[in-house]
């Protein structure tokens, strides 16, 4: 009988220990440890993505989570939580980075009670928000999807290079800004110009801000014709500044309504009036941009040489020529000295 009593006592102790083990927070927390990644998905979709996003699917987000959790072992540790009010806070960490904060609530049941997850805050190192600035008429796709109108944050943004153009000429090309928030990974941003060509996307990711600038770029065949025209215009403009040609000759290349027309007409061009000859050297073009069917720009860099008293005076020049298409062809709408 004594041995039976001892045996019964040991059995009762076993049961108490079993209940104690079940009452520990680890019973709840261990569900969310890798490789049990699936434990995270209900949390994720409950808190972050109840419905699939436009740019990222639930599978994309799950893949991000899996990739994140596969880098280092996922561990949890008790945080300095409030004491004595039945709550405890745990941090889930991977590679030293906190991925989630979980609040557990003690439920009084049985001998020791048990814990339940009361609240979860995810601190996933997601990519975050993105601003995309693109030509208004460009077809933008983010991860293959077109951003909805609701994501347009600003309209009619002018191009800095075109800010000096007269508005009465026509509808100048503008840009629009899209704002997308809550992206898990850096997306693929593609943009198609009005002419169906793929536009260049430049990324800027600094100080926690991400934005992509879509630049209008040119089609190579047209760029060659524009290149020759721009070099000839640059030479003509330079010769005007040294009075080696008349305003009448230059004005044929200028858009009459433009500010550059009025500025050049009234410009003092008396320097180096006494010189024997001039030369236009090292002419190069770059950064061709087609903003719209009737507006384009090209950078022209060259050295203008003026010879006087057997001496050569070199004037390296970096300029941008803005062109507007009229019935008479492409005319210079602005010249920017960079």
């Amino acid at each position: 009988m004594v041995f039976v009593a001892v045996g019964a006592g040991l059995g009762y102790l076993w049961r108490i220990l079993d209940e104690y083990e079940y009452s520990l927070p680890d019973q709840v927390l261990s569900v969310y440890l890798a490789p049990a990644v699936e434990g995270w998905l209900p949390l994720l979709f409950t808190k972050e993505a109840a419905t699939p996003g436009l740019f990222e699917t639930p599978a994309d987000k799950a893949g991000f989570i899996r990739e994140l959790l596969s880098k280092d072992q996922l561990v949890y540790q008790r945080s300095k939580g409030k004491f004595g009010d039945g709550r405890e806070i745990y941090l889930f960490k991977s590679g030293g980075e906190t991925l989630a904060t979980m609040t557990l609530q003690k439920i009084l049941s049985g001998r020791f009670g048990h814990w339940e997850a009361a609240n979860v805050e995810l601190h996933l190192p997601i990519y975050g928000d993105l601003r995309v600035i693109a030509p208004t008429d460009a077809l933008v796709r983010i991860n293959g999807a077109s951003p909805p109108e609701s994501s347009v944050a600003e309209e009619g943004l002018p191009y800095p290079a075109l800010s000096n153009l007269p508005p009465e000429i026509g509808a100048w090309p503008t840009q629009r800004e899209y704002r997308i928030s809550g992206l898990y990974k850096k997306p693929e941003v593609l943009a198609e110009g009005f002419d169906g060509n793929l536009l260049e996307v430049k990324w800027h990711e600094e100080n926690g801000e991400n934005w992509a600038a879509v630049s209008p770029t040119g089609a190579p065949p047209e760029e060659e014709k524009v290149r020759e025209m721009a070099l000839a215009d640059a030479k003509l403009y330079s010769m005007y500044t040294s009075r080696d040609t008349t305003f009448a000759a230059l004005s044929k290349r200028l858009l009459r309504q433009s500010h550059i027309y009025a500025s050049l007409r009234n410009m003092e061009t008396i320097f180096y009036t006494d010189h024997t000859r001039v030369a236009f050297a090292d002419g190069q073009t770059s950064n061709f941009r087609k903003f719209s069917p009737s507006c384009m720009a090209i950078d022209v860099d060259y050295v203008y040489c003026v010879y006087r008293d057997k001496r050569e005076y070199r004037f390296p020049t970096a300029s941008t020529f803005i062109y507007w298409k009229t019935g008479k062809g492409w005319l210079i709408a602005d010249i920017i000295l960079r």
């Binding site: 004594v2 079993d18 680890d26």
Partner: protein
């Protein structure tokens, strides 16, 4: 023949009586021991690894029962359990710039005592507004194996204090130490009373600006920093506002004594009762939680177990777990009288 029969019968009766006495005695002795052993085996190999860990670290923290875990596990297994339930060591020492001691004229009530409670314990928190009143009281002007330690009450009286708690550790093999010789370093009223200037210690003390200093340093470094009173123990629980990372339970359930300091300079003295039916004891994570709750910027664990006592105005205000009453110890943290008293 009849006589022989009677003699044989007499011998059988007496033998049977002695036999039964022997069986009863053996049963009374053997069964409880066997039951205890089996109970410990159930804890060790049963359904709760957490209970096992708690048992191991709790026993290892005692002086007299350290041998119990070794009955069931080897040194490697015990080491693994200890490492899985430890407090991470601090990096660096306390930053004194974080403490701005409140001027005496702006101090609130001098000494406040509050009850604290947790899932497995109860205890007391003493808040001393003026940190300059704290000092390390010692049992004798010089320590020696021939000089037995004093109780905390006696040390407090020796220094004219109004309250205090036990402080640093001491040699206590099998729980039979007499508190004669401290462990680590002892600095009291600016003088090195025990330890070497060249050795590295876990310092818990106060500098001349009455700021709590915790961390590892040599005796010389401590004195050069201006530490006026210090003992050795640990671990550091909160350093420069950051609680130390705790693995598992961070220690077993035992009586605890701890010290902390708030940003306004007020000193926190904590005792947690343990080894009693209504207060099993606290783990390090419990001490960290309490110290953080009371706003400690820096905090460290002091000696605990049967040494844990707190006095106020000559009265023991917690429940000492030792059946023999408060122990003889070499050092105590004494709360002195106010300067103008």
């Amino acid at each position: 023949m009849k006589k022989q029969k009677l003699e044989h019968a007499g011998k059988s009766i007496s033998e049977r009586v002695w036999y039964r006495i022997f069986i009863c005695f053996s049963t009374l002795l053997f069964v409880p021991c066997a039951a205890l052993y089996c109970g410990l085996a159930v804890i060790s190999y049963g359904p709760s690894p957490a209970a096992r860990d708690l048992f191991v670290v709790s026993m290892l923290e005692t002086s007299a029962l350290k041998f119990l875990p070794r009955i069931f596990w080897g040194p490697d297994a015990i080491r693994a359990i200890v490492e899985a339930n430890a407090v991470a060591p601090p990096e660096g020492v306390s930053d004194t710039e974080l403490i701005q001691v409140t001027p005496p004229e702006d101090m609130e009530e001098e000494i406040i005592i509050e009850d604290v409670k947790g899932y497995t314990f109860r205890g007391k928190m003493m808040i001393v507004a003026d940190p300059s009143r704290l000092m390390v009281g010692i049992s004798h002007n010089s320590f020696s194996k021939e000089l037995r330690g004093l109780t905390v009450s006696e040390i407090i009286s020796r220094h004219g204090g109004v309250g205090g708690v036990n402080a640093g550790g001491f040699a206590d093999e099998n729980g039979k130490g007499d508190g004669s010789v401290p462990l680590g370093i002892v600095i009291s009223e600016g003088a090195l009373k025990w330890g070497k200037k060249s050795a590295v210690y876990d310092i818990i003390g106060f500098d001349k600006e009455n700021r709590l200093i915790v961390g590892k340093m040599t005796g010389k470094q401590a004195l050069d920093m201006g530490v006026r009173d210090a003992v050795s123990f640990g671990p550091v629980l909160i350093l420069n506002g950051t609680p130390m990372e705790v693995k598992g339970f961070g220690g077993g359930l035992n009586p605890r004594t701890a010290i902390g300091q708030r940003a306004d300079g007020a000193v926190l003295l904590l005792v947690i009762d343990g080894r009693q039916p209504n207060s099993l004891g606290g783990a390090m994570s419990d001490v960290i939680d309490l110290m953080a709750q009371y706003g400690a910027v820096n905090a460290a664990n002091l000696d605990g177990g049967s040494s844990t006592v707190m006095y106020r105005d000559g009265e023991l205000i917690n429940v000492c777990c030792s059946l023999y009453g408060p122990r003889d110890i070499p050092t105590a943290l004494v709360v002195r009288n106010k300067a103008d008293e």
